[in-house]
Symmetry: C3
Subunit: 285 residues, 3 copies
């Protein structure tokens, strides 16, 4: 029986990236849909769950993607709402690669640090990858400074994440200057930079002035990179005592996690791969 992946993408043209990875991870056919709205989801999911026997439903799965993460979250909710008790298929949500990238960043950090014992700072902590990295770090027991240009946004994200993880571990920080970024990270052993593509968050001299820093991770692949002094290919590279990861270094791990999740989608019909579940797969693989 063919492994069918139904790709629900919120962009008008469904991602080739997600489609190629799905094909390489073993999906026999990908039914790719672009411009998917929550209204359209029920019929698309019913077609997935009412066409094969319950015992065969692990051969059908749903992938939610697209460049807009909030739109993807609405689709992900609609997908699960359309299930009928045991009539369900496994589903993965990874709009803009946010969940697999955050998982890759945190898995990379965990190679070098006991995350339950540290303070971490996430620059761009309210964005798709940053907020998910903050969530995962706190779920492991790290204290996390969630840094955003808007303190309001930082507070809102901490409040939201506080429903998933220990809220006392999360500290919202509003910061707009290099000095304020450095101040936010002063006691951190881990710094994750997940700001907008092509924006430098910290220059090299600032980064390497942080005395307590052990690991620095930048997920921005578009020059200028988010953290000066780090290179895009860095993957555990020691730079003056700081272990560095660049976007492509993290990206290789992200790709492995993405593949592993897709393969697992077809092992049962009950998987719901969101931020935490994708991270659980990442830690195993």
């Amino acid at each position: 029986m063919k492994k069918l992946l139904i790709q629900l993408d919120t962009d008008p043209l469904p991602s080739t990236f997600d489609r190629v990875v799905a094909s390489d991870a073993g999906a026999d056919e990908i039914f790719a849909y672009g411009g998917v709205t929550p209204q359209a989801v029920t019929a698309l999911v019913h077609g997935a769950i009412f066409t094969r026997k319950a015992s065969e439903l692990h051969n059908t799965a749903v992938f939610v993607g697209g460049s807009e993460v909030e739109a993807g979250e609405a689709i992900y909710r609609a997908v699960r709402k359309a299930f009928f008790g045991p009539l369900r298929v496994s589903v993965m949500m990874d709009s803009n690669g946010s969940n697999t990238t955050a998982a890759a960043a945190v898995v990379s950090a965990a190679k070098h640090l006991d995350l339950s014992q540290i303070t971490a700072t996430v620059l761009g902590g309210t964005g798709p990858v940053g907020s998910r990295a903050a969530q995962l770090l706190a779920s492991l027991g790290a204290r996390v400074n969630v840094v955003s240009r808007s303190e309001e946004k930082a507070k809102a994200v901490c409040e939201r994440l506080g429903k998933e993880v220990d809220a006392s571990l999360l500290t919202p920080v509003g910061a707009t200057t290099t000095e304020a970024y450095l101040e936010s990270a002063r006691d951190s052993k881990l710094l994750v930079s997940a700001g907008a593509a092509g924006v430098e968050m910290l220059p090299a001299e600032g980064l390497f002035s942080l005395k307590s820093l052990s690991v620095a991770i930048d997920v921005n692949a578009v020059p200028p990179l988010g953290l000066g002094g780090i290179e895009v290919m860095d993957k555990g590279k020691d730079r003056g005592g700081v272990i560095c990861y660049g976007a492509i270094g993290v990206g290789g791990t992200k790709m492995k996690i993405h593949h592993a999740c897709l393969r697992k989608l077809f092992e049962a019909n009950t998987h719901e791969f969101d931020t935490q579940a994708i991270f659980a797969v990442a830690r195993e693989s």
Copy 2:
């Protein structure tokens, strides 16, 4: 040579239901198109008939679907008009599952009744499934009461169907109350309920008060069901002397018919699977 199914769907996002069934029935690749209009059909069909040798054209087929049955009928006409004599491919029309569902209902009834000898009543007889069930029943010699809330619509449907089958067998009935529904079915051995989803046409006490009734079939899967006292999983279940079929009971047969038609599409390049031809496949399988 790969078996290619070109799925022409009138909804913006082509049906996953039809796509999964096509894949499971043996189509190697499905070219799924949404938002198909009659204007777009000619080029799509020419690409199907001008790309392979005439002797290979049984490996390409067209499936017309979508939730709007009349829109699908316009596509089905446009597809056949785009053929060039022997340069044609097989085509199946099953918008909203109307043809396979009607065939499944009538095949189910035929297991218990000699349809050429009976009177049948079809509630919701002007809808996609109801009108097709009426057509099939009359084609087998049954007298059929075609019941609709609008007598005008019932007359129009009988007039249209009268071009395909013996018009004298069809009686249009306008009815809006339980009493009128019961009156329409008073002498019927078969009752088919094909009204709107989630609308009860007859309560259980009404249904089981019908003295002449032998078989009752309800194709509505959304509670409340169309016929009170029938359950959605019923498949030939005897309830107080009436053989009952619910939507999922009929649905299993519908699925077999759908599969059988898809497999046959690729056996020749000349099949035109509309209401009657799909029923012919249903009777064989």
Copy 3:
């Protein structure tokens, strides 16, 4: 590893023609996109080049098609602009079949004529197929009369083509009457008719009055054909001393070229199949 073809089509519904041919030529999966704009191309190409190892990128390729040739050219430019040095995939541009059809016409003529020694006339010489046939003929050393109803257009096309081939070989001709068409072709050994579908450019008596004519090729498949006296199935048919090719005669060769190019797309990740490169493939095969 699966051979993936990303079909970027500028029409709302991507061509079934190109899709069937791609499947038959060995693409394992076709990711078909309709309504593609230059703005959407970068993300689609990045998904193609950033998902597999550099050494595996010959298993992914891009095909640009659609009925609008200029729109396809814009997509083709955008695709190549989105590559990152060695991170690229092979790409073929054949909107409206223009490149493969022009190549087929010129390859057909070359079977009978030393094209470096002759004068050729192309009716409809400013259209998608005509302008490409003119380019290919001049690239082989033929003198070419580029005939259009608008002399301005003919001049503009010659100027544009003069950047690709020896400009001195191209003569723009404005002509709107049978007499003017005949005058343009008076000294030509080769006549290619590539005008609008369903428009007769020359009647039979005019065509066969041309004393110097050796080969006549008509790529219009819709009656009335472009050249009177030629039949659509003609493939090297001698008619009163003139070797004739009709649209289906040329079309068989076009199909072979189309198949050969698609197969070659997957042999390396560096192919850029435009007019000249497609013709080079045509001459080999």
